[in-house]
């Protein structure tokens, strides 16, 4: 039984407090939905959870162990799909998925890639170069990475951008399958994605009272003197 938890988490970007005092607990099969208006810090939170950003304050733990102190172990158990699709226009669809599968240590990259393409209905496009794909298809290609090499914790930043209803349903079933086998999902979204039993974190609840910068740039006092 694994537990991914945050306590009193705060994030500062460009000397502005994005959120503070944020806390959640996520167990096996758990899902967390991040909501909030643009700029409320959903993406920043996901980047903190992925280990790209260090939290300005607070603790982020996996089974009680601080994840910021063991970044490699944390990276090994998570899959992050952000706004960008990490797709190279000149590679074919199959080559792209195979590359990520191999890089993330899939035992049989070719069959893992084929299964992942099948799940997101991209199998018939396997030999097409990525540059011919529509934006929704590219989005699905980015999501295949979730299946091509398994990870316990999925961090998804607006995964439904550009997806049609059928693809959203596909994604929902893939997520449900993942949670059934004990995986966790943190998902930032604007639209209604069906996540049965998911906790919702409204980022606006953790916004600082004033949007003014809390920290003056270092050394300003000395300059004034």
């Amino acid at each position: 039984m694994a537990e991914f938890a945050a306590d009193a988490l705060a994030c500062i970007r460009a000397e502005r407090v994005v959120f503070k005092g944020l806390a959640f607990t996520l167990g096996d099969g758990g899902a967390l939905r991040l909501t909030g208006p643009n700029g409320s810090g959903k993406s920043s939170l996901l980047r903190v959870l992925a280990g790209f950003l260090r939290p300005a304050a607070g603790r982020l733990t996996w089974d009680g162990a601080d994840v910021t102190k063991e970044r490699d172990a944390h990276a090994a158990r998570l899959a992050y799909v952000g706004h960008l699709d990490a797709a190279k226009p000149v590679l074919t669809v199959a080559e792209s998925v195979r590359f990520w599968a191999t890089l993330y240590g899939a035992q049989k990259p070719v069959s893992a890639a084929a299964a992942a393409l099948e799940a997101f209905d991209l199998a018939r496009l396997a030999d097409f170069p990525v540059r011919l794909l529509s934006s929704g298809q590219r989005r699905r290609l980015a999501l295949t990475r979730l299946l091509a090499a398994p990870a316990r914790l999925w961090l998804l930043d607006e995964p439904t951008t550009g997806l049609d209803t059928a693809s959203v349903a596909q994604l929902e079933s893939v997520i449900a399958e993942h949670r059934k086998s004990g995986g966790m999902v943190v998902l930032a979204t604007h639209i209604d994605v069906d996540l049965p039993g998911a906790d919702t974190l409204e980022l606006d609840d953790f916004a600082p009272e004033s949007a003014l910068p809390v920290a003056e740039p270092d050394g300003l006092d000395e300059v004034a003197q």
């Binding site: 790209f52 990276a75 960008l84 190279k88 000149v90 590679l91 890089l103």
Partner: protein
């Protein structure tokens, strides 16, 4: 881990072959610039012969800088860098793999083209073999040092200018020993110690660059 490293190298080679532009750009720049020199300094064979090693090395340096900016920039722009950083393959090794692929597509063509352009500049035949050797030993250092600069200038506006300012001063030792090795061979002095120093520079860059560049890349994706 070896498989993952091979995958990174194979992907970058494939990307480069399908684009084709980096290799062509570097080669065309190298050839065209070298051809310009006889027009500038006059076509007297003795003059050209005297400055040929210097011309070839300086031009190779500038040519190899051209493609550097794109070493990490495309991966940074399309989000691949984040995925690379999260992968089980240490980012240092991924950097090394990318540098190797980059050297194969932009450094190696310079090594191959240099002796041909040497003929054009009336390079003393006694220096040709050492020229090839010095280029083969020295160009990996150019790629590796350049990788640090490319990683540091990621996301900076006008990164290209900044990149040259950062990287060119660090190229000077390679230039000095690269040229002096060829000159030594032409004048019948031993080229070997100079080639060894050049090799030392490359090994030093090999030990340092992956760590420095990976640290800079982690900063860039913050």
């Amino acid at each position: 881990m070896i498989r993952a490293l091979r995958a990174v190298i194979a992907r970058d080679l494939r990307l480069s072959l399908r684009h084709g532009s980096d290799t062509m750009m570097v080669l065309v720049f190298f050839v065209l610039t070298v051809i310009l020199f006889p027009f500038g300094v006059g076509s007297a064979p003795e003059t050209l012969s005297k400055i040929a090693p210097g011309i070839l090395w300086v031009t190779a340096l500038l040519a190899s800088m051209l493609a550097l900016e794109r070493l990490f920039a495309t991966d940074h722009e399309d989000g691949s860098l984040e995925w690379l950083a999260l992968s089980p393959l240490p980012l240092e090794l991924a950097v090394l793999g990318k540098c190797f692929a980059h050297w194969l597509t932009t450094g190696l063509p310079l090594v191959v083209a240099a002796p041909v352009l040497g003929l054009l500049l009336n390079l003393d035949p006694g220096g040709t073999a050492v020229m090839i050797a010095a280029m083969a030993i020295g160009t990996p250092a150019l790629t590796l040092i350049g990788a640090i600069g490319a990683a540091l200038t990621l996301g900076a506006r006008r990164g290209g200018v900044l990149l040259s300012l950062l990287v060119l001063p660090l190229y000077i030792p390679v230039l000095i020993f690269g040229v002096s090795a060829v000159d030594a061979a032409i004048f019948g002095l031993g080229a070997e110690p100079r080639l060894l120093i050049l090799g030392g520079l490359s090994l030093f860059a090999l030990a340092l660059a992956p760590f420095a560049a990976a640290a800079a890349l982690r900063q860039a994706i913050e």
